[in-house]
Symmetry: C3
Subunit: 274 residues, 3 copies
């Protein structure tokens, strides 16, 4: 495989910028992953805040370098807060990333995602293959929040969806796929153990959020963030004996990976332009 | 003690089935344990989903192999969601397990549990001795969510309650007690450190939920699940130096215990039929 | 530095009392830290309960040794529950500690904190320097939930605020500062890694809550609790290689620190009376 040296270098640079700037990342996310997401963002070097009250989301997002929306344990009033925060973010040109957890599993999730997409300008959508297919109105069907499709099943739909929405679409899986409808990237970093711990997808989304705060090209921000997050998974898996120690070790790895180490080990492949 | 070889074998078989079928387990549970519960279910081999919105619980539970209801941080609208999901589960013959966290500590908890029991057909209720006594209308009184009674204080009431409700009642403690009003089982696996980590009771409930998805006899499902969960506690305690490392090691153990290992080490005693 | 032997001894005594009495600590706290806070309180030796429904908070707090209020993921109805629980606690003379997470970051947080302070008699307020300054109406400004001020910037304002409110004010940071407006204490235990894990401030607040349940002098309760919590951070940092292992090791340390060990290592300095 021919990995991009430019993007590996970019990965290191983005990580360095985050650690220098410590951007505030505003998360409106689900109850399951709040603690883990906050710890991941701290390990990355960002400054996480979780705030969902309609009374404060506009003010909070104004201070942020990026807004992370995640519907993992959605309810109607939280969707309203996401819209409020998102509209303000759009006005202030603050990047938004959406994690459509379980889209396709219930009508409520699918329609909520579509509402967010319709009312907001969203820079990046990161999901598994089933979630992305459900948004692209292709054959959907998921089992709860776990994908029943492979990344390859959804990459074509992702390219079309990206072009249609003007968003970057990210499908994570064995190999991660990133596209803005024109450019496509594959990220080969990662480890199967990441699927055995809850919230790794959500944490990957938040990590992309922190990269968006320092890199306004959503395609390179997403690819470099996933190379970094995947590398931490690889290093964590090496030292662990199961999902409990994997969580501990991969959090330590996120914290300890330096810019040079990331640059050496980022495995990002540039696909041809469409 | 004379442990049942049949049930030890059943434990291994149930675990194998979960890992083959990866049943979706729908949890409407408390904020404290959501992350831990999801990770436990993933380590077991099931596929967890947390969803509480009234707009989606009926659709979500329809996809599930079992429904786990837990009132640990209850509020009125979540109880409504539990009722909605539970009624649909009943109609579809999907097993329900209830964790009456803190029942007896406040009137709101006690009456909410009674409402769930009255309106739903619940297959298994798992609590500590104080919680079970509060449901059985026996002398109650708990200290918050911790039991002030031993399992033996409540086993008689549990047998009566099981017969009255047509449910399986599970009391966890030093020795776990399981009864459907006729049969009684004791499970001797477990470790005192399990009481020093939050959410082990809730995670035991969810683990039983995943066993219910593959074993429709709620008594054997509960006993075999608790043998497995308790064995993971034993193995975790051996390798740990406190509650932090215990959580990590017991999660690793849940993941690593094989069917054969479980079959060899499950310590389930069949009591006489009543 | 001249550390107080009396307060080091008091620290050991307070810890011993908690482990003997296992006081129930009622938390109305944020979603991010609920699990971690409960595990910290269990490691300390207390009995945590999380309950926020307006239907039960008055009854729950009546059973408690202390009430912990934390606005980290506040919403209007949770503030109402805090008021309800707090009024009952005041009537029953149960100590209250408030964690004004992110006060100063949004108007909603600042006004909610002021409402809690106006309507309740609060024994201890623990925050970072920016949060305390925002309450003292001094130059505020925070970055989300992280402080942009040092402890020294806020200690003068804290002394005034303590005198004005009749509360003990605690500012945690590199050196922790505690004052009731007359007496001032500095606590030197702690480690920078504590700032790289989410919820350590919130967990410190809850730990003070458990000390308040056995020591009705809020200044000594706060100082001794922070010496203990900080010592666990020191011991955890020694054994860890990043924030993941730090969380595990510091939780183990909280559990394993004995009264004698705490007495030997508590580094509390008494400042002059004002």
């Amino acid at each position: 495989m021919d990995f991009s040296k430019n993007l590996a270098q970019k990965a290191g640079e983005n990580l360095k910028k985050i650690r220098e700037q410590k951007p505030l990342i505003h998360n409106i996310t689900n109850f399951v992953v709040m603690n883990y997401t906050a710890n991941v963002l701290l390990a990355v070097g960002a400054s996480p805040v979780m705030a969902h009250a309609q009374e404060e989301v506009e003010e909070m997002v104004s201070l942020a370098g990026a807004l992370v929306l995640n519907i993992g344990t959605l309810s109607l009033d939280w969707i309203e807060s996401m819209i409020k925060a998102g509209l303000r973010a759009n006005r202030l040109n603050i990047p938004i990333i959406l994690d459509p957890v379980g889209s396709g599993a219930t009508t409520f999730r699918t329609t909520s995602v579509k509402r967010l997409i319709n009312e907001l300008s969203i820079n990046v959508i990161r999901g598994n293959a089933s979630e992305i297919l459900s948004i692209a109105k292709k054959e959907s069907g998921t089992k709860g929040v776990d994908s029943i499709h492979g990344v390859d099943d959804a990459s074509g739909a992702a390219v079309e969806l990206a072009a249609e929405l003007g968003s970057t679409i990210v499908i994570t899986g064995e190999v991660d796929f990133i596209t803005d409808g024109q450019r496509t990237f594959n990220v080969y970093n990662g480890h199967p153990m990441m699927g055995r711990v809850t919230g790794t997808g959500c944490a990957a989304t938040a990590t992309i959020g922190s990269f968006l705060a320092v890199d306004r090209d959503p395609v390179t921000a997403s690819a470099t963030a996933l190379a970094y997050f995947g590398l931490a998974g690889e290093l964590g898996a090496e030292k662990s004996r199961g999902p409990g120690s994997f969580m501990v070790e991969s959090l330590d790895a996120l914290f300890n990976i330096g810019e040079t180490e990331l640059q050496k080990n980022a495995r990002i492949e540039e696909g041809g332009r469409k």
